[in-house]
């Protein structure tokens, strides 16, 4: 039963992270007040981690743990939720140039949902591609709040949301244990499974939430 989930993060299964899932869960247990998360969605790079088994950890930490993927297309990076065997048979997630439009349509048809992430980021985000290529059909929502983004990236997304009416969600894009849950998504209904998540992402009733600490002004000259 989860209302606030981090929809974008990488564990040691991704080639550029060393974070064990249990370390993420311990960190969240410690930071429960500042980052009140109830679930995580592991979005490993260029793969669906079929063998990843997290049932015991779910029970131990009282958190929902779901599995998804971050894949790469000619329109930038896309998060795929509701990955199943049909989708995996159809698309090789290791391919760094998957066909975005076809993938979005087909994934939806096969029971999942493909949602562009960090759309405001240069080259790997949607906004830049929309300047030179036709907009993608069938995009339901985008990751409006990404924990790893630079100044200005998340703000650029506001214009995108206005123009296309996309839903907005949030994720930490964490590769390091301590960055987990800094940005997340709050849902109006309980999410208990990937089916619930895909369903809700399709229909709406969610928004990004920002748990990053306020920037403190630091006097560097004093040190």
């Amino acid at each position: 039963m989860a209302r606030i989930l981090d929809l974008h993060l990488h564990s040691e299964a991704s080639d550029d992270s060393r974070a064990p899932v249990e370390a993420y869960l311990k960190w969240l247990a410690r930071k429960r007040e500042e980052r009140p998360l109830e679930g995580l969605v592991l979005t490993e790079h260029r793969q669906f981690n079929k063998s990843g088994e997290y049932r015991d950890l779910e029970d131990k930490y009282g958190m929902l743990i779901l599995k998804a993927s971050e894949i790469e297309t000619e329109y930038g990076h896309i998060l795929v939720y509701g990955v199943n065997d049909d989708i995996l048979k159809r698309y090789d997630f290791k391919n760094v140039r998957l066909p975005a439009q076809e993938l979005i349509t087909e994934v939806a048809r096969m029971g999942g949902i493909a949602m562009p992430c960090h759309p405001g980021r240069p080259t790997v985000g949607l906004i830049e591609h929309y300047q030179t290529k036709p907009p993608l059909e069938g995009v339901i929502g985008v990751e409006a709040l990404n924990g790893g983004s630079k100044k200005g990236e998340n703000e650029r997304v506001a214009e995108l949301l206005d123009q296309y009416g996309y839903h907005a969600f949030g994720g930490s894009d964490s590769h390091l244990v301590s960055f987990i849950g800094l940005c997340a998504t709050e849902f109006d209904r309980d999410i208990n499974s990937m089916e619930d998540l895909v369903d809700t992402l399709r229909t709406g009733g969610y928004r990004p939430v920002d748990f990053r600490p306020q920037r403190q002004q630091v006097d560097s000259s004093a040190s």
Binding site: E72, G76, H77, V96, R97, P122, T123, V124
Partner: protein
């Protein structure tokens, strides 16, 4: 550009460089350049009382060793410019004044990825550093990004 290259270059030693003995001054200057204040790296007298029994170099010292060849002649060129995409350092032994270090370099891995700034090709160059006692001192993996 397709990831097409002569795979026999992987794992082959393309350079072996022997460095002149490391001096105390080099160690002290490297420590100072990083603003280190730990006496193990900055104060010989105190360092002698410590568990290394002498001044030792800060852990990233080995990353300043420049081999004769940074990459092999037949390194595939996937792009015009190379950038530093990251570094992994594993430390096995301390570097001490007087050490004669040798570095062996190999191409450890080559792969393709799209990232923040475009389609990129990653080459991982591995440097293995040994000392005069033939002890493994460090292994450094450089991720070189080309585009």
């Amino acid at each position: 550009m397709a990831l097409d290259f002569d795979k026999s270059i992987l794992g082959k030693v393309f350079d072996e460089t022997a460095f002149p003995p490391i001096t105390k001054e080099e160690i002290l200057e490297f420590a100072a350049a990083l603003g280190e204040t730990n006496p193990l790296y900055t104060d010989e007298t105190v360092a002698r009382q410590g568990h290394h029994k002498e001044l030792v170099a800060p852990p990233t010292f080995v990353t300043k060793l420049r081999p004769n060849k940074f990459s092999p002649e037949n390194l595939p060129k996937f792009g015009k410019v190379g950038f530093d995409g990251g570094r992994d350092l594993e430390v096995f032994a301390q570097v001490r004044p007087g050490d004669s270090l040798t570095m062996l370099s190999t191409i450890h891995e080559i792969y393709e990825k799209t990232g923040r700034t475009g389609s990129m090709y990653f080459i991982v160059i591995r440097n293995e550093v040994k000392n005069q006692k033939n002890e493994k001192v460090a292994v450094i993996d450089h991720r070189i990004m080309q585009r």
